[in-house]
């Protein structure tokens, strides 16, 4: 009767197949990233945009299949801490790039 993947501790920890699915997806996304850059088939801005999308998807794949982030009630505080960190780091990076680009524009150092 008992499901071997959700026994004992009750925490979600993947099965062999879920790890393999995550691994195959990660390999495909990584190969695509390398392929886009090595083939020079797109304009630089287009390549950067595609790279960003691929990286974002791969981070989500890793979070889901390897770190087992989910929507269960146990994971609630983990998710809250995570959302706060994503917001914090986004402000940090976007803010830094914006301010420094603006500064170098006004200083005409570029």
């Amino acid at each position: 009767m008992s499901n071997p993947n959700t026994s004992s501790s009750g925490e979600s920890h993947g099965s062999v197949s879920s790890y393999l699915i995550g691994f195959v997806l990660a390999v495909i996304l990584t190969v695509l990233s390398f392929g886009v850059v090595m083939s020079h088939s797109l304009a630089p801005t287009g390549t950067l945009a595609v790279l960003s999308v691929l990286a974002l998807v791969q981070v989500l794949v890793h979070l889901h299949y390897f770190l087992h982030m989910g929507s269960g009630s146990e994971a609630r505080w983990n998710n809250i801490a995570f959302v706060f960190t994503v917001a914090f780091v986004s402000i940090l990076i976007v803010g830094t790039v914006f301010i420094m680009a603006n500064t170098s524009m006004n200083m005409m150092s570029r």
Binding site: M1, S2, V16, V37, L48, Q58, H62, F66, L67, A81
Partner: protein, 201 residues
């Protein structure tokens, strides 16, 4: 009727309490995220400040980068297999998978150290330009984390040797290291995308 008595408990996990150890470690990882975030921001600002020194096109190559990425990605899934074995209390399998993960991680660090040594020998050390300072700070911080992970893996392998069961305390250690290891792989996704590939467009 006899089956009915077992059914209600099957999908029920009320005995499970919040695991504060693992949550505490998760919070540490989130602060680590902020460290890496600030290093990525620094790199983003300084990425074009070559000061007449070597550019990414002269320094980076796809082969080594691909190999490093493959090793780290493989080590992520081998650690996952170790965790599955741990949940089934197959200790010899856990030690075996931890050993494989260790070797893959060691290969990654070895390749990275070799790459750094080549760059420094070619006069492209962290003191050459702002771009290289930011590059070395960011990538070596990640490398240091991986090295700490390797020490941690060996420690847990030694602690697991000769035991016959995995108490909750040990399971917590394995789970924390699992989070740490997979987290480092996620950071590496950002490194190979934004530091290497984006500079080689």
């Amino acid at each position: 009727m006899a089956q009915n008595t077992t059914v209600p408990t099957a999908g029920h996990d009320e005995h499970h309490h919040e695991n504060t150890v693992v949550f505490g470690f998760w919070v540490y990882l989130m602060t680590d995220c902020i460290i890496f975030g600030s290093l990525f921001a620094t790199f983003a600002v300084l990425r074009n400040q070559f000061n007449g020194g070597p550019t990414p096109h002269e320094l980076f190559e796809f082969g080594g980068l691909g190999l490093e990425t493959a090793l780290l990605l493989l080590s992520s899934i081998t650690y996952g297999f170790g965790m599955i074995a741990a949940h089934k209390t197959q200790i010899s399998k856990v030690i075996m998978w931890l050993g494989v993960t260790f070797l893959l991680g060691l290969g990654f660090v070895g390749l990275e150290v070799r790459e750094f040594a080549h760059m420094i020998a070619d006069g492209a050390g962290p003191d050459r330009s702002a771009f290289l300072s930011a590059f070395f700070t960011l990538v070596s911080t990640h490398g240091l984390h991986v090295t700490c992970g390797l020490i941690w893996i060996v420690t847990l392998m030694v602690q697991l040797m000769g035991t016959t069961e995995i108490p909750e305390r040990m399971m917590n250690k394995l789970t924390c290291l699992s989070l740490f290891w997979h987290f480092l792989d996620i950071v590496w996704i950002c490194v190979f995308t934004y530091v290497y590939l984006a500079s080689m467009i």
